[in-house]
């Protein structure tokens, strides 16, 4: 987190730089079927974030050493396109992307019914073509929708949202400016039907009370986003 504490990001009425209240989400749109050659796909915009996710499979897992006799494996790649950021993102190996790919895979493997497809692989490509703040949440949420679009059975969809802290105030869904000056970020991956978690990260500085507030914001936001996901899968468009 940036932590330049002296920039004022919340006005006297408790409103944020983009006019939102502390618990409000940015604008979100969800669309399926956007990668015609894939088995399932999703385009999600969230503020000026844009993620495109394609799902291929289940298909044969090769090389054979990655096969598991009793279940499918997920091959998850999170990637930022070179033009997705203010300073061009150089293609190639990137530790941050590797870590996000891994925790996203861990989250999705918790809900996909892997046992239905022994020895197979499901490939999930998450491409961030425009990045604001919270791309890992957008990518994970869009991946859930794309898996559903591909007809892959899951116990529940994962909804991922992040809350954070700015000017010592806990707020939901940091935007780019807030993220630059923010003091903490708590992304969670929530199962909306049970309130359980499959994904959790955090960095920065939160007291135990602030942590609880951020947690609650995420839980509420997850319900709201979940409705849009269901709508998009029904209708083919959420806006």
């Amino acid at each position: 987190m940036g932590g330049y504490g002296d920039v004022q990001m919340i006005d006297e009425n408790g409103l944020r730089v983009d006019g939102r209240g502390p618990g409000d989400l940015r604008e979100i749109t969800i669309e399926t079927g956007v990668v015609p050659v894939a088995d399932g796909s999703c385009r999600m915009t969230w503020g000026t974030n844009e993620a495109i996710v394609a799902v291929y499979g289940p298909m044969e897992a090769h090389p054979r050493k990655i096969q598991r006799q009793d279940r499918a494996v997920l091959d998850v790649a999170y990637n930022m396109a070179p033009f997705s950021t203010t300073d061009r993102m150089r293609p190639g190996f990137n530790r941050r992307s590797r870590e996000i790919s891994k925790v996203t895979k861990d989250a999705l493997e918790s809900v996909v019914l892997l046992e239905l497809y022994p020895r197979s692989k499901i490939r999930i490509s998450i491409e961030i073509v425009s990045a604001e703040a919270g791309t890992r949440c957008v990518g994970l949420t869009a991946a859930s929708v794309a898996l559903a679009d591909a007809g892959i059975p899951m116990t529940d969809m994962v909804v991922s949202v992040a809350s954070g802290k700015i000017n010592d105030i806990v707020v939901c869904d940091l935007n780019k400016e807030e993220d630059n000056y923010g003091e903490a970020d708590l992304p969670m991956g929530i199962l909306p039907n049970s309130g359980e978690l499959v994904f959790l990260q955090m960095d920065g500085d939160l007291s135990q009370e602030e942590f609880k507030q951020a947690w609650d914001y995420n839980m509420d936001a997850a319900q709201a986003v979940h409705e849009m996901m269901v709508e998009a899968l029904k209708g083919g468009g959420s806006q």
């Binding site: 990668v35 844009e50 394609a54 396109a81 070179p82 033009f83 203010t86 490939r123 490509s125 425009s130």
Partner: protein
Amino acid sequence: MTIPIVPKLLRAHLGELAANDGRIDGRKQWEGRELDVKHSVLPRAEGSARVRMGDTIVFAGVKFQIMQPYPDRPNQGGLMCSAEVRPIAGRHWEAGPPSPESIELGRVVDRGIRESGCIDVDSLCIIPGEKAWQVILDLFAISDDGNLFDAFALAGITALRNATIPAERFEVGEDEPLTLSKTPIMCSYHRVGGRFVYDASGREELGGDERIHITLGDDDNVHSLQKGLKGIFTADEFAEIMGHACDRTKELRELIN
């Protein structure tokens, strides 16, 4: 890129269709697919485009960096063009270092734009010998149903034509549009069922043979050629393709102008 097993049945089928002047999706030999071109679609890019040709979808994004001019060309900026086809674009594209296929894609599109001279590299100089703009054009495939070459080339030139030099962000003056003096356009041809067709789809590529890429400038000048894949073609076949390219590049140029 995994090498897909070329289905003999598909080849045979494409051959029969060709014998009756047909194509697998009902198009004529020289007919392109439905085309949709949008520019300025990527908020973080200084220029961008999204091109859809049938079920092939690609993005192009332009970013600028400040570079030190090369000692022997102190008044010139530069252009860098790179193509990435990541696994999102299709079942047969794999992660890893750039494949020979994606290297060829990037270099052929790059040459068409660079060699046309459409970007005046002298105009990219900020302080001679010290600072100049480097234009970076990134081509990115979302869905590959064939003919990524033409989709990339069209998205690339469209993104460049709509790019803004971000001088304010770099504190070297005021933002201004990147000016292009020409509009090079690529047309690609694939041998399918024994004869060449324009704008091959994914299944035509899978069951076809060699391909030829032609980039022409505003006045039909040739800026770039490339023959790819195994196959032998005659001078007459090439002349016919070149004739079609002269016409088709004009249509496409008008479309994006």
